[in-house]
Symmetry: C2
Subunit: 102 residues, 2 copies
């Protein structure tokens, strides 16, 4: 679970995660989420925080008002692993339930 | 309340906010908070989020595990106002209650 993904697996995983892409300057994946307002953005962050803590795998994220910029990587593995794909997948489900900006 | 601070007022306000400093590349103030763990860091963020929402004045912040990097500025005023000083002061009180890393 904590080995870096193969190129093939990573491509397949990203294809199933709309809006996610390879980070520009490091071995990581990233996405910018835009919500209706701060309430929705921080609600998303709160739900994700519980998931992250449960699995002891945490995002790097930057929030300004209704925008949340997320970068995921697995420090111990030095790159993207299944743990990042699992967290990104959870974020997608939470964002969909939170209500992204139309 | 939403006019940019005078240089004198800003100096006095920062002197009373340990660890806060002028941002490097823009008219803003910033601080890096380091907590015991993610639980404490996100607990801090959650309490600050409620204060921010109440006063409709929100931070820019970046969280990685137990670190929270905050930048405050008042967009409408194009710089630092009393609203930023008030939010920074609230963050200090919440951080002190949350438990910073020793």
């Amino acid at each position: 679970m904590s080995e870096r993904l193969t190129a093939e697996r990573r491509r397949a995983a990203l294809a199933a995660l709309p809006g996610w892409q390879d980070a520009e300057d490091r071995d990581a994946i990233s996405k910018v989420f835009t919500f209706a307002d701060f309430n929705a953005a921080f609600g998303f962050m709160s739900r994700v925080a519980l998931v992250a803590e449960k699995h002891d795998h945490h995002p790097e994220w930057f929030n300004v008002y209704r925008t949340v910029s997320v970068t995921l990587s697995t420090h111990d593995a030095g790159g993207v692993t299944e743990r990042d794909i699992a967290l990104a997948t959870a974020m997608e489900a939470i964002a969909a339930a939170t209500g992204l900006k139309a």
